[in-house]
C-alpha cells in the first residue's frame, strides 16, 4: 500500500487507482506490415524490471483520468508523477 499524488486531485491512497502497465510504448505506424513476432513483441512483451519503471495509472475511483508515474518497483517509491503527453521529468 502506498500513496499516489494524482496530478488532478492530489494525494490519494493506492486503492483508489488502477495500474495500467508500462508507459511510453509506441504503437507501430503500420501494424499490417509487421510480422507476427514483431506484433507480439509490441502487444505482450513488457520489461517488468525490478527497479525504476515508467508506468501508466488511472485514478479509477476519483477523477478517472490517466497519468504516468515513475515508480521504483523494488520499494514502491514514486520518483515522479506527470500528465499524459508530457515528457518524463526523470530519466
Amino acid at each position: 500500500m502506498f500513496l499516489i499524488n494524482c496530478p488532478f486531485c492530489g494525494e490519494r491512497e493506492q486503492s483508489e487507482f488502477k495500474a495500467g502497465g508500462e508507459a511510453h510504448i509506441k504503437r507501430p505506424k503500420q501494424p499490417t506490415e509487421l510480422s507476427d513476432d514483431e506484433w507480439a513483441e509490441f502487444l505482450f512483451m513488457r520489461k517488468n524490471i525490478k527497479g525504476v519503471q515508467f508506468e501508466r495509472w488511472n485514478h479509477a475511483h476519483g477523477c478517472r483520468k490517466w497519468f504516468n508515474i515513475v515508480r521504483d518497483t523494488s520499494n514502491d517509491q514514486i520518483k515522479a508523477v506527470y500528465k499524459m503527453g508530457e515528457k518524463p521529468p526523470v530519466k
Binding site: 488532478f8 486531485c9 492530489g10 494525494e11 490519494r12 491512497e13 486503492s15 483508489e16 475511483h61 476519483g62 477523477c63 478517472r64 483520468k65
Partner: protein, 187 residues
C-alpha cells in the same frame, strides 16, 4: 417529479449522527473542455463552475461539484415539487451546450442517490471504511471528493459544518446505507 421510487425510505438516527435520503433532487453531469463551454454554462445557470480541484460553487437554486478537470455534477439545492421529469436547467443546458457542440449534458437524477449526513460523528463513520484523509476536507466548507467507502464509489460534498451530502449509485445505495447503519451503531 413523476414516479420517483425512493430506495432509502428510513431516516436513521444515532448519537451525533443522522442519515437520510433527500429526494427527489435533480442531478446532472456536464462535461466539456473548451473555454466557451465554461462561459456558456456560466451564462445559462448564472453561476461559475468550480475550476479548482476538489471544490464546489453554489447559487440560490443549484450547486456545482468539481469531479474532474472536464466533468462537473450539478444538483438542485431544493427538493423538486413539480410533477414532471423535464427540468428547465437541463433544457437550457441542452440548448446552450449540446446543440452548439460545446460539451455533454447527462441527466443522472435516477442514477445517483443523495444521502445527507448530519452530526459531529460523520467523519468517524467515514474513517471506518474509506482510505481518504478527511482532515483538510472537514475544515473546508464546499470541499468535494470522489473516493470509496466500503468499496463503493461515492461523491462527498461538505455542505456546511457537520453536514455532508453523499452521492452514491442507486444500485449500491441500499447496501451502502445498511453498511453505514451497521458501522454507525458501533461508533
Amino acid at each position: 417529479m413523476l414516479n420517483y421510487n425512493q430506495p432509502l425510505k428510513d431516516q436513521k438516527s444515532y448519537q451525533g449522527l443522522q442519515m437520510s435520503e433527500i429526494s427527489p433532487v435533480m442531478k446532472l453531469i456536464i462535461r466539456g473542455k473548451k473555454r466557451d463551454f465554461l462561459s456558456a454554462v456560466g451564462k445559462s445557470l448564472n453561476m461559475v463552475l468550480p475550476t479548482k480541484a476538489n471544490t464546489s460553487t453554489q447559487s440560490e437554486k443549484l450547486t456545482a461539484l468539481w469531479l474532474s478537470p472536464d466533468e462537473w455534477m450539478i444538483f438542485s439545492n431544493n427538493v423538486l415539487e413539480e410533477k414532471t421529469n423535464t427540468y428547465n436547467t437541463e433544457i437550457l443546458l441542452n440548448k446552450n451546450i449540446c446543440n452548439l457542440n460545446l460539451g455533454a449534458v447527462t441527466d443522472v437524477t435516477d442514477q445517483y442517490v443523495r444521502i445527507t449526513l448530519k452530526g459531529d460523528k460523520i467523519y468517524d463513520l467515514f474513517q471506518t471504511g474509506s482510505p481518504f484523509n478527511f482532515n483538510e476536507f472537514r475544515n473546508k466548507i464546499g470541499s468535494v471528493t470522489q473516493t470509496i467507502i466500503a468499496k463503493v464509489d461515492v461523491i462527498i460534498h461538505n455542505q456546511s459544518q457537520n453536514e455532508v451530502n453523499l452521492f452514491v449509485r442507486r444500485s449500491f445505495s441500499e447496501h451502502l446505507f445498511s453498511w453505514m447503519n451497521d458501522s454507525a451503531s458501533r461508533l
